[in-house]
């Protein structure tokens, strides 16, 4: 029996509506891509909690604020007071929101929030809580939802008191300037068009800019390695760059491997870690050489970010220049500290 044409069209519309509706319920429309889109969100790994429908409201009497960064090894730390507990937050654009270290917030009421991706270094079920007040310099937040995980491994390896991670969503309403060399994080309030409320007296000229997708849960930058375009997560919490071991041959042939080791604790299965130098990374046509990198299995990258990416840009990239991120203008920019040779 042949369905009536009107019914067929209605069914089609209904299916389309359902498909679009389901897509919107998980990811912003711009993220719904083709099946071969390299940035398809892996929903099995990315809990819904990691997509903030409403970004945390950043409060404070300032239009522009410079937050001094501290260093612990290659981690960038921001001093904070959270519900009376003073310590350091790891500045971590690889994390989406606020993450608290369980050690210092056990008295906070928690609720189960499903399984986490590995962004905090922990996997499996984690708890969530609300932080009543977070104060960072002149910036503060109220009633912010936060993941609760054990971050003692970071604390013990770097010797600083780490009360949590400051993820990207916490500051993405600002124009963000990361000056890792001078240990500064600048936050500039912007209007609806993305222009600074308090413009600079002398505008900083970017050496290179790139359009970015503001709807991703993490910040993805396109870079060229060995002539191939790859998607990298800009991750200020990564102590070194990372690239997938499944990258094309032309990509991996540009990387010198200098160390190999297993990674894992006593009695645990180990993950193979390869460490080397990325010799041929480019944004546009500007080569950035000699960046240390780890070569790892792509499954590890997926577990960390919940999205399929080719690698991440961490500390080694951050110290190459002053980085500006303006999500309203959908723009990533860099001013090189030492103009790389072209």
């Amino acid at each position: 029996m042949k369905p009536a044409p009107g019914l067929f069209h209605r069914c089609l519309l209904l299916l389309l509506f359902l498909a679009v509706g389901i897509s919107f319920s998980f990811v912003p429309s711009s993220q719904v891509g083709k099946a071969d889109d390299p940035l398809i969100i892996n929903l099995s790994l990315l809990p819904i909690k990691n997509i903030n429908i409403v970004d945390p409201e950043a409060l404070g009497d300032f239009n522009s604020l410079t937050i001094p960064l501290k260093r612990a090894g290659r981690l960038l730390l921001i001093e904070a007071v959270i519900d009376g507990e003073t310590g350091n937050l790891v500045f971590d654009t690889g994390a989406t929101g606020l993450v608290l270290n369980k050690t210092y917030f056990r008295s906070h009421a928690t609720f189960d929030n499903g399984s986490s991706n590995g962004i905090t270094g922990s996997t499996g079920n984690i708890g969530c809580t609300f932080a009543k007040e977070i104060r960072i310099s002149d910036l503060y937040y109220r009633n912010i939802k936060a993941d609760m995980v054990d971050l003692s491994h970071i604390e013990n390896r770097r010797g600083f008191k780490v009360i949590g991670l400051l993820g990207f969503n916490m500051i993405k309403s600002f124009e963000i300037v990361i000056d890792a060399t001078h240990n500064e994080l600048q936050l500039h309030r912007i209007d609806r068009k993305g222009n600074r409320v308090q413009p600079e007296e002398v505008e900083t000229v970017q050496d290179y800019t790139q359009k970015i997708n503001p709807w991703r849960p993490v910040l993805i930058i396109k870079g060229m390695v060995g002539g191939k375009s790859l998607n990298f997560c800009l991750d200020t919490g990564a102590e070194t760059n990372v690239i997938s071991s499944r990258s094309p041959k032309t990509v991996l042939s540009t990387i010198s491997i200098t160390r190999r080791a297993g990674l894992g604790g006593a009695g645990q299965a180990t993950n193979e870690v390869l460490f080397g130098t990325m010799n041929d990374f480019m944004l546009d046509k500007t080569p950035i050489r000699d960046m240390e990198t780890i070569v790892t299995n792509p499954d590890a990258l997926s577990e960390v970010y919940g999205v399929i990416i080719d690698g991440m840009l961490g500390y080694n990239f951050l110290v190459k220049g002053i980085i500006t991120i303006n999500l309203t203008k959908k723009q990533f920019g860099i001013r090189y500290l030492n103009q790389p040779a072209s």
């Binding site: 050690t103 299995n297 577990e303």
Partner: protein, 482 residues
Amino acid sequence: MKSIKNNIYLALLFLLLFSVAARAQYDPKKICKVEDGNLVFQLDQHWSDSQKSEISRLFDLDSLLLIKVFEGLPIVFVDSITWNVKVIKPGLVEISKMIEPYVKKNNRVDFRMIDNSWINLPVPGIEETAVYGKNSFTLVNAFSYNDGNACFFLPGYPDARSVYISGSMNNWSTMQSPMQRTDTGWLFCSKLLPGRYSYKYIIDGKWTPDPGNKLKENDTYGSHNSIVFCYNHVFKLKGYTDAKTVVVCGSFNNWNEKELKMTRTPEGWELPVFLREGTHAYKFKVDKQWFTDPANPVIRPDGRGNENSFMAIGDTLVFRLNGFTTAKNVMLAGSFNGWNPGELAMQKDSLGWYLSYVLAKGNYEYKFIADGKWMIDPSNPYSTGGGDMENSFLTFQPNHIFELDTFPNARQVIITGSFNSWSTENYRMKKKDGKWIFPIRLNAGKHTYKFIVDGTWMLDPANELWEENEYGTHNSVLWMGP
């Protein structure tokens, strides 16, 4: 004959060149690559033993593998790993294997953090080990230190919204120590113990070394920290007002004659300094002549026919061993003097034996030696180790006391943690007024610990801070301030 000799020389030269060429192929940066998910190494049989050893260390390759791959087999199985072997030419092989599949971890693994030995991490501060020092400010009122009160002054910056001081004195806090605005600049005063401190100012969020201070250290991040010393001693020499220069030098600065120039005063010469706790030998050099300190009666021979003045910084502890009145001699030896059994002779009095000794704050182990027989201190309830290895344990000026009051009937309680390498024998606690106590001197920073109550490991029930450990259990956490 000559032709044979020439041929031999040529052959030797050829061998030498060949050998150099073979060795020249050794470049650890070029032997490993990743291809299509495979890990590939190119290995050369001609590498020297030390080169093979380095490759083995850098790439976590079993030394047996580096031998077996040259046996001509297409597959080699070593250390539970199967390697495919391809001979490129005699003595040169390419071995490969799949990169291990990713093992999902339950916790505690974050590959974004890399092994400390793979990167050049900054060297920790040297506050704890500074032996002596003097300040070098270009601005007279940039710093003052009186009666334990330190004041830092930064002139100018009238338009700044905020200025903070951050340094080793406040654990590099960027929020704890705001400076107060004055008519002419910014001021911060605080109680500080004598010592060496590194610091920076934070002016509207920007890290800034003290512009009025010449003394600095590399901060290992491309800039520098300012250095200040809070003094605990003033060298004084009366008279000699006609001298051109007076210098003080001693064991603390390796008798450097050019470093510590004294300042002329109406009465003579003086130099305020910071000196680390302990005993120091010193002398004054007035123009070209050496003098012991006329104001200090403690003068000892230097073993080379001269004499030096001696002074001690720090507090004195009296070691006492009652009884043993018939002993001919009693010596003291411990971790504070490198366990030298012939150095510290105790003095006899009506109660027994005693010795006054200046010690820096800290934890020490020691023993008495009565007529050659080593013994622990019978009046000290704290000891470490057991049997012949048992030593008395002493904490001079403790900054923390571990307490456990829930097991008054336990036979033995041990405190173990990161501060004693998780020793399960040392640091036995003492029962006092129904609770177990252990006074200790802990360094600034994080410490993790547990109690062992009659063999059972447990968290500190009075401490709400604890964390997970690699064994799936928990450790108590304690932070000590600077």
